[in-house]
């Protein structure tokens, strides 16, 4: 099986598959370190709400998806599979999960509004 040895859209090319694995590990470790550092420092300018959530939370979610991409593409070697196989695996998830998130979080926000401004006292 041939390995594709470039990551970051060809910006970084490794000599062997083993080197690529270590390269990806270093990258994932850096991302995790950045997440932890941000989580501990909590820079005040990132705590402002952006699109209904703290800006910092959007950064965390984005970095998580970046990590997930490199785990799936390089560790689970989706990069080396046929494109049809790759996308028959990834597309159902990319469609269904955001859909589930969308309906449930909107519903939860609505219920929060009812409990917050309704007549039911739950906080006693």
């Amino acid at each position: 099986m041939g390995h594709k040895l470039s990551i970051f859209r060809g910006l970084l090319t490794f000599k062997s598959n083993q080197q690529k694995i270590w390269g990806v590990l270093i990258f994932l470790s850096i991302v995790t370190a950045v997440e932890v550092a941000l989580g501990i420092l909590k820079p005040p300018f990132l705590l402002k709400p952006v699109l209904g959530m703290k800006g910092l939370n959007w950064i965390f979610i984005l970095l998580t998806i970046v990590k997930a991409y490199y785990i799936a593409w390089d560790f689970m070697h989706l990069r080396d599979e046929k494109r049809n196989l790759t996308f028959s695996i990834v597309l159902p998830l990319l469609v269904l999960i955001p859909f589930l998130i969308f309906i449930l979080l909107f519903e939860a926000d609505y219920i929060f509004g009812v409990m917050d401004s309704g007549f039911v006292s739950w906080n006693f």
């Binding site: 083993q18 694995i21 979610i61 997930a68 599979e81 049809n84 695996i89 939860a108 906080n123």
Partner: protein
């Protein structure tokens, strides 16, 4: 019949072609992973649902998970789970290296990297057990009101959490807890908390510096709201239960659902890691006795590797949504 069995080429599926250039076993592993990913996303989205529903009172992760081994009393939020994340990613790397060595048919290297992977997985499961132990045991204790609201205690001068045992003393006439040998119709009684509600209330009145930290989050600062002394006294007088640590019914950290989701999601993930370790051990033993060397390929290592990376992938999400966000 005989010939069809003997000449069955496992590289070609029955249609005479290899669909999507993938072997049967590998594709089935991918089917399983996709369905399992949907299961996990269902759990995590349900967690998000409960969290958004209680967005103004959900426990703050940094205040719950702040332990680090051998550093007692040191406030170390997230460092430990970050370390766990790193351990799991590292064991993923040794797994890829095992798969890579398998492609080159280097038996000893595959075995060595598999062993490292198993060790990494075992360390991770152990870490999770330690995390659970801290979570179940709790550190400070709290009161619960009739409405299920958790009242934590902070000191007015330092602003830090105060444990129940630091200001409460056992009364001279403690409640008698029943055991089987003392009654006729007695079945069982749950292990009681260290203190009764009355003892905690008495201790609260004796310590004028104590204040109640409510579940509500101040939208401006993002911290939990600390009540005034007068408000605190009202809340404390309404308390119904003493809560120490966490179980599936109530927990000292806040919303009841928080502990339920913690146990359920990290437990389900931990169970995946545990079964992954068991499967890895089986594969490791097979490598040692040369099963795959005889078979001519190490595809089994690759398949179990896919599962192992998937478990790592799920942890990346659990880490974000339980500890970071």
């Amino acid at each position: 019949m005989e010939s069809s069995v003997e000449h069955f080429d496992e590289d070609l599926w029955s249609g005479g072609k290899k669909p999507l250039d993938s072997s049967y076993g590998k594709m089935m592993m991918w089917f399983f992973i996709v369905s399992d990913a949907l299961t996990f996303s269902g759990f995590l989205v349900a967690y998000g649902f409960s969290r958004f529903k209680n967005i103004d009172s959900w426990p703050i992760a940094d205040e719950v998970f702040h332990h680090f081994p051998f550093l007692h009393g040191v406030d170390a939020p997230m460092y430990y789970v970050a370390l766990m994340t790193f351990i799991l990613i590292f064991s993923s790397v040794t797994m890829v290296l095992a798969v890579d060595a398998g492609h080159k048919m280097q038996k000893n290297k595959v075995a060595f990297y598999m062993l490292l992977t198993i060790i990494g997985g075992a360390v991770f499961v152990g870490s999770q057990a330690w995390e659970w132990k801290n979570f179940i045991k709790g550190e400070y204790g709290a009161l619960e009101t009739k409405g299920g609201q958790i009242l934590q205690f902070v000191s007015e001068d330092t602003g830090k959490r105060v444990s129940l045992s630091s200001f409460t003393s056992k009364s001279s006439s403690p409640r008698l807890y029943q055991t089987k040998d003392k009654g006729i119709w007695f079945f069982s009684e749950e292990k009681p908390p260290t203190f009764t509600v009355a003892e905690v209330q008495e201790g609260f009145l004796k310590n004028p510096l104590l204040r109640v930290k409510s579940e509500k989050i101040d939208p401006k600062s993002g911290h939990k709201i600390i009540l005034t002394r007068a408000e605190s006294a009202v809340k404390v007088s309404q308390a119904k239960y003493v809560v120490e640590g966490a179980n599936l019914i109530r927990n000292e950290y806040g919303n009841r659902l928080f502990a339920d989701f913690f146990f359920f999601i990290t437990g389900f993930h931990g169970f995946h890691v545990l079964s992954g370790v068991v499967i890895n051990v089986v594969i490791f033993l097979n490598i040692l006795i040369g099963t795959y060397q005889k078979r001519g390929h190490y595809e089994m290592v690759e398949k179990v590797g896919l599962y192992w990376h998937f478990v790592d992938l799920v942890w990346v999400f659990v880490f974000t949504f339980f500890y970071l966000v």
